[in-house]
C-alpha cells in the first residue's frame, strides 16, 4: 500500500526540520532494534521446545513482527513525505491566492480610473477652456510664462482665457481633492500644450509644457468617441520626475461624447503609492512591523520589468527581478507559475500570477509575484491557542487530506497487528510453561517498541493537524481581510464620486434658480451618471426642505416627488456639510425610499455657486445596489480548493451592531441575523484580524474575520467581514 518510490521529501531534504529528523531517527532506530530481538526469539524457539510445530509457530510470529516493523519503517518515510507535502500544498495555495489578491486589488482600482477619466472629460470648464485657448493661441504662450511667475494674475493676458484657465485648474483641483489617488491631472490643447493642471506645486513646471510627442497624448486624440480611453503603461513622461501611469482621453467640443476632438485630458495615477500599500499587505512582519527577511512582493509589466516592489533594495523597480526567467512574464491572463529557486540568497518559493484584468478592464498584462523563504512553508506555527477541539477531532476533520488520514489508519492498523502478534506470542510462551518464560521480555519489548513508535507518529500527526488548522485559519483571515479591504476601497471610490458629483454645475444651478427646466437638466445629468455605473439604484437631489427635486431614474420620479426625506439620516448629514471635501453615509438599513431590504445611501452637500466651502443648498443622495455590490466581492473571497468553493464555505459582512448585512449563504447566515461566532472575532480593533472555531446549528466551523480599517478618506462604518468553512 505504501510506496517509497515517489517520495519527494526524504529525510535528507534540507527543508525537513531538525525536530522532525530527530523524531524520524528515533522511530527508525526503535524499529530496527526489533530485528535482533526477533532473531533472538528464533534461536530461543529452538532452545525451549522440541516440538517442531511450536517452533514453527514462534518463528512465524517473529517473522510477522519483522514484517510489520519493516512496513512501519516504510510508512514512516511515506508519512514524513505526506506531512511535508500537505504543508507545502496548503502553503502554496495560500501564496497563490495572496499573489492573486494583490493584482486583483490593483486591477479593480485601475478599472475605476478608466471610468473616471471618461466622465471628467465631459466637464464644461475643460472644453470651454480649450475653445478659448484655440481662439487665442498667442495668449496661451503668455499664460504659460506667467504661470511660472506664480499664477495667472498678469493683466496683459486676455482675461476671459485667464478666467477659463483658472476655472479649469480649480475644477481639476476639485477632482484631485475628491479622488486622492492622483498626482496630477492635465488639460492639453490640440498642439500638445498643457494649459491647466490640478497640482499647484507642479503648475509652474507643467503649464506651457509641450507633450505632443508623448504616447498618451497622441493616443487620446485618436480615440473614436467619448467611451474610449487610453492607458499608457508605466513609463517616463515629461510631466513628472518619477515613472508615470497615465490615463488619457480626448476632450470633445460641447462635452458631447460624439463631438469633434479639440484637446486631451491626462490623469496621472499615484501608482507607486497605491501599489506600495497593496504590496506590503499580507507580508509577515517582525515586532517592529518590518517585513521579515526573504519575503518579497512585486509587480512586473508585460516586458517582465519590475514596476513596483515591496523591497526596492533587493528587487529594484525598472529591472528584471532576480527570480527564474520563466517567471518574468507569463503567457496568458490567469496563468500561475510556482517554483522553488534561490532568490536573493535564500532558497525560496516563487509564485507568479498573471492578471486577468477585472470585469471589462483587460489590464496591461501585469504579473504579481510573491517570494517567500522555502523554510517558512514548513515552520511550526508559533501560535498554539486552544480552540477547544481535540487532536482526534481535528485529525478526522476535513482539513486533513484523505491520503494523510489513510496513512494514519495504516499506522493504527500496523500498531494493532504488532500488538496482536506480541500478545499471541505471550500466549504461546505461556503454553510452554517455565521454558517459555524467557520469551515474555522479548514480546514485552516488541509491544513497547510498537507503542512508542506509533505514539510518536500520532504526536506528529497531531502536530500536523494543528499546523493545518493554523494555516487554514490564516487563509480565512486573509480572505476576510480581502473582503473588507475590497469593500472599503469600493466605498472610498463611491465617497470620491459623491463629493465630486455634488459640485456639478447643473445641480447647484437648479437649486439656485428653482426652475423646472433646471431640475430637468439636473435629472438628465444624474441619468448620465447612473448610466455609466452599474452599482447605483438611483441618484436623487433633495432641496433644503427635504423635498426630492430631481433623480436619475424617470420611472421612480412620480413616487419620489411626493416624498419628504427631511427626517432621514443621509439628508440630515448632507445638510450639515459646508465643504466639498465632506460626505455622509447612512449605514445599511431598511429605507422607505426603496422597496429593497437593504439600502446604503451616500450623500454630498450641494453648495452655493459650486464653491468649495459655503452655504448648503440641498443634498445629493446616491442609493447603492448594495447586495449586487457586496455579493460578488464576497463570492470572490470564499475559501477554495483548486478553484472550487469549499462545500459549506460562506462569507458575510456584519455591521457595527453585529447583524449580517450581506451574505453568500442566505440559508445559514441570513441578512439581519446574528451569528454565534467567537467573541474574539467580534471585538476587533480597526484593521485587526482574528480567527477561531465555532459551532452553528450543530456544525463546527472555522472562521477568519477582519474589521474595516477604512481606506484614505473613507474611514469605514465599523463593519467586519467573516469567512467560514465547516470542518466536520
Amino acid at each position: 500500500m505504501s510506496d517509497t518510490q515517489d517520495i519527494k521529501f526524504n529525510i535528507y531534504n534540507p527543508v525537513i526540520t531538525y525536530e522532525h529528523r530527530a523524531a524520524f531517527d528515533l522511530i527508525v532506530s526503535h524499529l530496527q532494534e526489533i530485528f535482533p530481538i526477533c532473531n533472538q526469539g528464533k534461536c530461543k524457539a529452538l532452545e525451549v521446545s522440541d516440538d517442531p510445530q511450536k517452533q514453527k509457530q514462534i518463528n512465524d510470529l517473529m517473522e510477522k513482527v519483522e514484517f510489520f516493523s519493516n512496513s512501519l519503517i516504510t510508512i514512516t518515510k511515506v508519512f514524513f513525505d505526506q506531512l511535508y507535502r500537505a504543508k507545502q500544498t496548503s502553503s502554496q495555495s495560500i501564496s497563490q491566492s495572496t499573489a492573486m489578491i494583490k493584482i486583483d486589488m490593483i486591477e479593480r482600482n485601475l478599472l475605476e480610473r478608466t471610468c473616471d477619466v471618461r466622465w471628467w472629460a465631459l466637464e464644461k470648464a475643460f472644453w470651454q477652456c480649450i475653445i478659448l485657448a484655440d481662439e487665442n493661441p498667442e495668449e496661451v504662450a503668455r499664460i504659460s510664462k506667467t504661470a511660472s511667475r506664480k499664477a495667472t494674475k498678469s493683466s496683459s493676458v486676455n482675461s476671459e482665457l485667464k478666467n477659463a484657465v483658472q476655472l479649469a485648474c480649480t475644477r481639476l483641483e476639485d477632482i484631485r481633492n475628491s479622488y486622492t489617488l492622483y498626482r496630477d491631472l492635465v488639460i492639453v490643447t490640440l498642439d500638445g500644450t498643457v494649459i491647466a493642471n490640478s497640482n499647484e506645486e507642479r503648475r509652474s513646471t507643467v503649464l506651457g509644457m509641450n507633450v505632443s510627442e508623448e504616447e498618451w497624448f497622441k493616443k487620446a486624440l485618436q480615440t473614436k468617441d467619448g467611451t474610449e480611453y487610453f492607458v499608457q503603461d508605466i513609463s517616463r513622461s515629461k510631466l513628472e520626475d518619477v515613472e508615470s501611469l497615465i490615463y488619457s482621453t480626448a476632450l470633445r467640443a460641447g462635452g458631447d461624447e460624439q463631438g469633434e476632438v479639440i484637446g486631451a485630458m491626462g490623469v496621472l495615477f499615484d501608482f507607486q503609492g497605491e501599489s506600495q500599500i497593496i504590496l506590503n499587505d499580507y507580508l509577515p512582519g517582525d515586532n517592529d512591523s518590518a517585513t521579515l527577511d526573504g519575503w518579497f512582493s512585486f509587480f512586473t509589466n508585460d516586458q517582465g520589468r519590475v514596476i513596483c516592489s515591496s523591497d526596492e533594495y533587493f528587487i529594484p523597480s525598472g529591472k528584471a527581478a532576480d527570480i527564474p526567467r520563466r517567471h518574468w512574464k507569463l503567457d496568458n491572463p490567469g496563468d500561475v507559475l510556482v517554483s522553488t529557486a534561490i532568490v536573493c540568497g535564500n532558497r525560496s518559493l516563487v509564485v507568479s500570477h498573471k492578471s486577468e484584468g477585472f470585469d471589462e478592464y483587460r489590464g496591461l498584462g501585469w504579473t504579481s509575484h510573491l517570494v517567500l523563504p522555502e523554510s517558512a512553508m514548513f515552520e511550526r506555527s508559533e501560535e498554539n491557542e486552544d480552540y477547544g477541539i481535540s487532536p482526534q477531532e481535528l485529525m478526522n476533520s476535513r482539513l486533513i487530506p484523505d491520503t494523510n488520514k489513510q496513512t494514519y489508519q495504516e499506522i493504527q492498523r500496523n500498531k494493532g497487528d504488532i500488538q496482536l502478534i506480541s500478545i499471541n506470542g505471550i500466549i504461546l510462551a505461556t503454553d510452554l510453561g517455565k521454558a517459555g518464560t524467557s520469551f515474555i521480555p522479548i514480546f514485552d519489548q516488541i509491544t513497547t517498541t510498537g507503542n512508542s513508535t506509533t505514539g510518536k507518529m500520532e504526536e506528529l500527526l497531531s502536530e500536523m493537524s494543528s499546523d493545518m488548522l493554523q494555516q487554514n485559519l490564516k487563509a480565512l483571515e486573509n480572505f476576510s481581510k480581502q473582503a473588507i479591504d475590497l469593500i472599503d476601497r469600493n466605498l472610498f471610490e463611491r465617497a470620491a464620486d459623491v463629493r465630486w458629483w455634488s459640485t456639478d454645475h447643473a445641480f447647484w444651478e437648479a437649486l439656485q434658480n428653482n426652475k423646472d427646466e433646471n431640475f430637468e437638466e439636473a435629472s438628465k445629468r444624474l441619468g448620465i451618471i447612473n448610466a455609466s455605473y452599474t452599482m447605483y439604484r438611483d441618484l436623487v437631489i433633495a432641496d433644503s426642505n427635504g423635498r426630492i427635486v430631481a433623480n436619475s431614474k424617470s420611472e421612480n420620479r412620480d413616487k419620489l416627488k411626493r416624498m419628504n426625506v427631511s427626517e432621514q439620516s443621509w439628508f440630515r448629514q448632507g445638510m450639515q456639510i459646508s465643504r466639498s471635501v465632506q460626505f455622509g453615509v447612512q449605514d445599511v438599513c431598511n429605507s422607505d425610499l426603496e422597496n429593497e431590504e437593504t439600502s446604503l445611501i451616500y450623500c454630498g452637500g450641494i453648495l452655493e455657486d459650486g464653491q468649495r466651502e459655503g452655504k448648503v443648498l440641498g443634498v445629493l443622495g446616491i442609493f447603492f445596489d448594495w447586495e449586487n455590490l457586496a455579493g460578488p466581492i464576497l463570492e470572490g473571497c470564499l475559501p477554495r480548493i483548486k478553484n472550487e468553493v469549499v462545500e459549506g464555505g460562506a462569507a458575510f459582512y456584519m455591521n457595527g451592531e453585529r447583524e449580517i448585512i450581506a451574505s453568500t449563504d442566505s440559508d445559514h447566515f441570513a441578512i439581519g441575523q446574528e451569528v454565534n461566532i467567537p467573541i474574539e472575532n467580534l471585538k476587533l480593533e480597526d484593521g485587526e484580524s482574528a480567527s477561531g472555531i465555532f459551532t452553528d446549528k450543530g456544525r463546527k466551523f472555522i472562521i477568519g474575520s477582519s474589521k474595516t480599517q477604512g481606506y484614505r478618506e473613507y474611514t469605514g462604518l465599523g463593519w467586519t467581514a467573516h469567512v467560514v468553512r465547516p470542518i466536520d
Binding site: Q409, Q412, R413, G416, Q419, L420, I423, N424, I426, I427, T430, D431, L432, G433, K434, A435, G436, I440, T447
Partner: protein, 158 residues
C-alpha cells in the same frame, strides 16, 4: 499469573492468558442462519470451528460491533487447557473452542494471587470471578467457564 485485559464499553475486564488460545481481529465471521442473536457467527481457526459470542449481548449491554479496534478472544477448550506445560492453575473453560467478541484490547497485566479480590456483593454478576485494583482503576477478572456456558444465556437464546 498474566492476564490479557480488554474493554467492553467502558469496563476493563481480564482473562487469564493460559485460558486463551489466540487473539485475532474480528473479521470473517460466518453468519449462521437461525442462530440466536448472541452468536455473532462461526470462524474457522486452522480447521477448528469456533463459535463467537457477542460479549456485549452476553452482559445484556450494548452489542459489540466489528470495528478496526474490536477483537476476538478464542479460548482453549478443556482438553487444550490440560496440555499447557507446568500448569499450576485451576481454570475450566468449555468442551469446545469458543470465542468472545470484545470492543478493544488493552494491556497484559501480571497479577499475584493475593491481589485478586472478591467481587463486592452489590455489583456481583455470575461471570465475574475477581476484581483487581490498578491505581484508581478496577479490572474485573472473568470466570471463563460460566461465561462460555451457553446455558447461562437462556433468556437470550430462547
Amino acid at each position: 499469573m498474566l492476564y490479557s485485559t480488554f474493554y467492553l464499553g467502558k469496563t476493563q475486564m481480564g482473562l487469564p492468558i493460559p485460558a486463551i488460545l489466540e487473539i485475532g481481529r474480528s473479521i470473517n465471521f460466518h453468519p449462521v442462519r437461525g442462530a440466536p442473536e448472541i452468536i455473532d457467527g462461526l470462524i474457522n481457526l486452522r480447521g477448528k470451528v469456533v463459535t463467537i459470542i457477542n460479549t456485549g449481548l452476553a452482559f445484556e449491554a450494548e452489542k459489540v460491533k466489528s470495528t478496526d479496534e474490536s477483537r476476538v478472544y478464542i479460548l482453549k477448550n478443556n482438553t487444550e487447557l490440560r496440555e499447557v506445560a507446568d500448569a499450576d492453575f485451576d481454570i475450566e473453560t468449555s468442551p469446545d473452542n469458543i470465542g468472545i467478541h470484545v470492543d478493544r484490547i488493552a494491556d497484559v497485566i501480571s497479577v499475584e494471587n493475593e491481589d485478586l479480590q472478591t467481587v463486592p456483593a452489590n455489583i456481583n454478576h455470575p461471570f465475574y470471578k475477581h476484581v483487581v485494583r490498578r491505581g484508581e482503576e478496577f479490572i474485573i477478572i472473568l470466570e471463563p467457564q460460566k461465561m462460555l456456558n451457553l446455558n447461562e444465556h437462556q433468556e437470550l437464546l430462547s
